[in-house]
């Protein structure tokens, strides 16, 4: 069992080591990448099976008892996030076998991709806030490398913006960790949750919470610290943009949900309204930003921001249903958004451009692609019976139940505006006649298969979540209940007898 708990860290780590050692041996690297992704997915599914009754699995690293060593803690929420990480890793590993694969792999795509997966999996499994900081950095440095992989002018420019804004975010995180340690004398999540309500200086603790909110918010691209995302994502090559869109911002959302349901839960009355305002502003800014752009990648980038707002409704309302809605929404969103970026790559391949003005006629020239675009696009907008409808339904219903009428109304309106952007892409890229000068970039059948297979599988998953929602909804509710059951988490990590040393609080 202990090996299973750390497997999501060991598998990508082994993949990084092997692919880095086999630098330049592209074929072997690719095989390792796909095998490691399958293994990660399998391990994560096993973890979901082990935690599906709401149990919390704990592995103490180096056998140090909990508040002193680093604990790896997997509850159902972590396990669900790990499954989705494995799925995305697999989809992108296969998709990256498509066009431009050789240039990418020669530049070191495989080791960097798996470093990113390692950082993400670490952030989802750790039970220690300083360790979370370290995993953030692993993820960040890998994402820097991935972003400027092709070394084009626009990647340099986008990369500079991305790098500097993220550096400031992580330094704020580091500062907050230091101050939190000063106030509580511990870094372990469970121990923090136990100690936080008893801290004398609650004002200072809330200030640290706000610092953490800024740091995680910058990672999650919430209003007003979202600017790095639309400045950079559209410059990355398509597999990179897809994995970024799927996972990076969601790690920020995960950290927000974890920390603010566990450590700052006693202060929910203070943070709830802040989250509500941030969530609404994020939804609205993102969707209007998307409305004004004419480049497929930029439209999709702004929609990431808009959708992050929905995921924050859970922590804004703090009811079990709202948090379950957030979890269901995250799962749906990751699948759909990654898929849209993968489709955008295929659009570029079929028409030669990402600019809507220079694309067109795909409904005739690539009918399968049109169908595969419609599934995630309509799901993103929340059309029944696709997955997005259920995600939005749960989130909005929880809003009405908890009396958050304004936030629920904003969520509804933003859903309609999302449909506007998706129809814009549909009209321009698929429906209108192809403008003169449009020409497909030639590609082989194998590249075509590598591009279409992950798109089709992810579209099938979207349909499955939509049509057969019940098990997914039930699982999110179990995960939300176990997130809100702080006592169970604390006793699982710290054990029944909490060690307490006099005078360790600095």
């Amino acid at each position: 069992m202990r090996l299973l708990i750390v497997a999501p860290l060991l598998i990508p780590f082994a993949a990084v080591a092997l692919t880095a050692l086999l630098w330049g041996q592209v074929a072997v690297q690719r095989a390792i990448g796909v095998i490691a992704s399958v293994a990660l997915l399998a391990a994560a599914v096993a973890l979901v099976a082990a935690t599906s009754d709401g149990r919390v699995l704990v592995a103490q690293m180096g056998d140090w008892p909990a508040p002193f060593g680093i604990a790896i803690v997997i509850d159902l929420f972590s396990a669900i996030m790990l499954v989705i990480t494995g799925l995305m890793s697999l989809a992108v590993s296969v998709y990256a076998l498509g066009p431009e694969a050789t240039e990418r792999d020669k530049a070191g795509f495989q080791p960097l991709l798996h470093s990113l997966i390692l950082g993400v999996a670490g952030a989802f499994s750790t039970g220690d806030i300083f360790n979370l900081y370290v995993w953030f950095e692993v993820m960040l440095i890998a994402s820097f490398g991935l972003l400027v992989l092709d070394r084009t002018r626009e990647q340099m420019d986008g990369g500079i913006r991305y790098v500097f804004l993220n550096l400031i975010g992580t330094t704020i995180f580091l500062m907050a960790v230091g101050l939190l340690y000063g106030l509580t004398g511990t870094l372990n999540f469970a121990d923090l949750a136990r100690v936080a309500p008893t801290v004398e200086n609650q004002g200072a603790l809330a200030a640290v919470g706000v610092l953490l909110l800024i740091a995680f918010g910058a990672k999650a691209a919430v209003f007003p610290v979202f600017n790095w995302l639309p400045a950079a994502y559209h410059t990355a090559s398509m597999p990179v943009a897809a994995i970024f869109a799927a996972l990076l911002t969601k790690v920020g959302v995960y950290a927000i949900i974890r920390v603010f349901t566990l450590v700052f839960a006693h202060d929910a009355a203070f943070f709830g309204p802040i989250f509500a305002v941030v969530a609404m502003a994020t939804m609205v800014t993102g969707v209007f930003g998307a409305a004004m752009h004419q480049d497929v990648r930029k439209i999709l980038s702004f929609h990431i921001i808009s959708q992050i707002g929905y995921m924050l409704i859970g922590v804004a309302l703090m009811t079990p249903l709202a948090i379950a809605g957030s979890i269901l929404y995250i799962v749906h969103h990751i699948v759909v958004k990654a898929n849209l970026f993968l489709v955008a790559g295929a659009i570029r391949q079929e028409t030669g451009s990402f600019a809507l003005a220079r694309t067109g006629g795909l409904w005739l020239s690539a009918p399968l692609l049109s169908l595969l675009f419609l599934v995630p696009a309509l799901s993103l907008a929340g059309i029944p019976p696709l997955s997005g409808f259920w995600g939005k339904l749960v989130v909005i219903r929880s809003g009405f139940e908890a009396g958050g009428y304004l936030i629920a109304a904003v969520a509804l309106v933003v859903g309609i505006l999302t449909l506007f952007s998706m129809i814009k892409i549909w009209n321009e890229a698929f429906w209108k006649a192809a403008p003169i000068g449009t020409r497909a970039i030639p590609w082989t059948n194998r590249q075509r298969l590598a591009t279409y297979a992950p798109v089709a599988v992810l579209a099938a998953i979207t349909c499955t979540i939509g049509i057969w929602t019940e098990p997914f909804a039930a699982m999110s509710i179990t995960a939300a209940e176990s997130l809100l059951d702080r006592e169970a988490y604390i006793s699982a990590v710290l054990g029944s007898s909490v060690p307490r040393l006099a005078g360790v609080v600095p």
């Binding site: 400027v148 084009t152 990647q155 420019d157 990369g159 330094t171 500062m175 230091g178 004419q294 970039i441």
Partner: protein, 135 residues
């Protein structure tokens, strides 16, 4: 001791913010390094200062003596320094590369990412090759 150090952290943070607001990238990078230093000092201060006794558990005891120095912040800072160094090194490389690419270190003069939809990398290569052939 602590008030002096806290004042110092404040001054370093102010300097870092000032540098981060600069238009050119090397200054911003130095600002980031300074901000990291301020964060590390903040961790040091929050971990109790001033104990000269080394953090060794006396024989027979189960815990540190109460006047021992706190080893944890030092471990955290060491980790943070290494990470910060790596990030600063990468960023410096990126700044040098973009200076070679754009001929400037002023962020406002770099706008390659903000013009809508450039041709893709293979297209760019093809265009360059065509121009060469024509020449």
């Amino acid at each position: 001791m602590e008030p002096v150090l806290i004042l110092g952290i404040g001054i370093v943070t102010v300097a870092a913010v000032y540098l981060l607001l600069a238009a050119d990238l090397p200054r911003m990078l130095i600002g980031f390094v300074l901000l990291g230093t301020a964060a590390n000092l903040a961790i040091l201060v929050s971990g109790r200062l001033g104990a000269p006794v080394p953090p060794l558990v006396p024989p027979g005891a189960m815990a540190l003596a109460s006047d021992a120095a706190n080893p944890l912040p030092q471990a955290l800072i060491l980790t943070a320094i290494v990470i910060g160094f790596g990030l600063a090194a990468f960023t410096l490389t990126l700044v040098v590369k973009s200076y070679e690419e754009f001929g400037t270190v002023v962020a406002d003069d770099m706008d390659a990412a903000e013009t809508e939809a450039k041709p893709s990398l293979p297209e760019q290569k093809r265009l360059v090759a065509e121009q060469r052939e024509a020449a």
